[in-house]
Symmetry: C2
Subunit: 84 residues, 2 copies
Amino acid sequence: MRFNALKRDIHGISQKVLSQVLKNLERDGLILRTAYPTVPVTVEYSLKPLGTTLIEAVSSLTHWAETHMSEIQAAQHLYDASKA
Amino acid sequence: MRFNALKRDIHGISQKVLSQVLKNLERDGLILRTAYPTVPVTVEYSLKPLGTTLIEAVSSLTHWAETHMSEIQAAQHLYDASKA
DNA sequence: CTGCATCCAATTGGATACTG
DNA sequence: CAGTATCCAATTGGATGCAG
C-alpha cells in the first residue's frame, strides 16, 4: 500500500501523523517499508507477520466495540437523563 | 473496589485522571458506582457485566503485548542500529 | 474519603511551506 | 510522491487547594 493510498483510506488523518505512525510501526517491526528508486520515488508499505498478528488481536476489540456500541449509547442516554 | 484502592493499584495515575476515567466508565455502563451515606462518604466501584466483557476483549491485546514485547524491542534495536 | 475547580506545563496534532 | 520542518492551537494531565 502506498503512502497516499493510506492517507486516503484513513479518513481524516494528517500527513504528519501518518508519517509518524508509519515510522513507529516500521521501527517496531510491524510493517515493512520498501522504497523503489523511481522518479519520483515510490514507497510501498506492507504488513510483516508480527503486524498481522496485532491486527488479529485488535480485531477482537473492534468487534467488541461494534457489537456493544448501541448498548453503550443507551447507557449514556440513561446517565445523562438521570443527571439532568 | 474503593477509590483510593484503585488509585493505589493503578500505579502513577493522578486523582484527576482516575476521577475522569471512572465517571466515563460509569456513564458508558461499564462500571457501577455505589455511594454509602457514611461520614465520610464511602464509594464502591464494581464491574457491570458489560465491563467484564470489555476486560476479556482487552485481555487478548494485553496478552499480545506481553508475548511480543521482546520481539518488538529487538526490532527497535535493529532499526536504531541501522540508522546510526 | 471522594471528589471538583483551578492553574500551569507538556504533549499532540493540524496547517502550511518546502525538498529530493 | 513521500516525506520534513516549522508554527501554532487545542488537548491532556499533574499539582494544589478546597468542599461535602
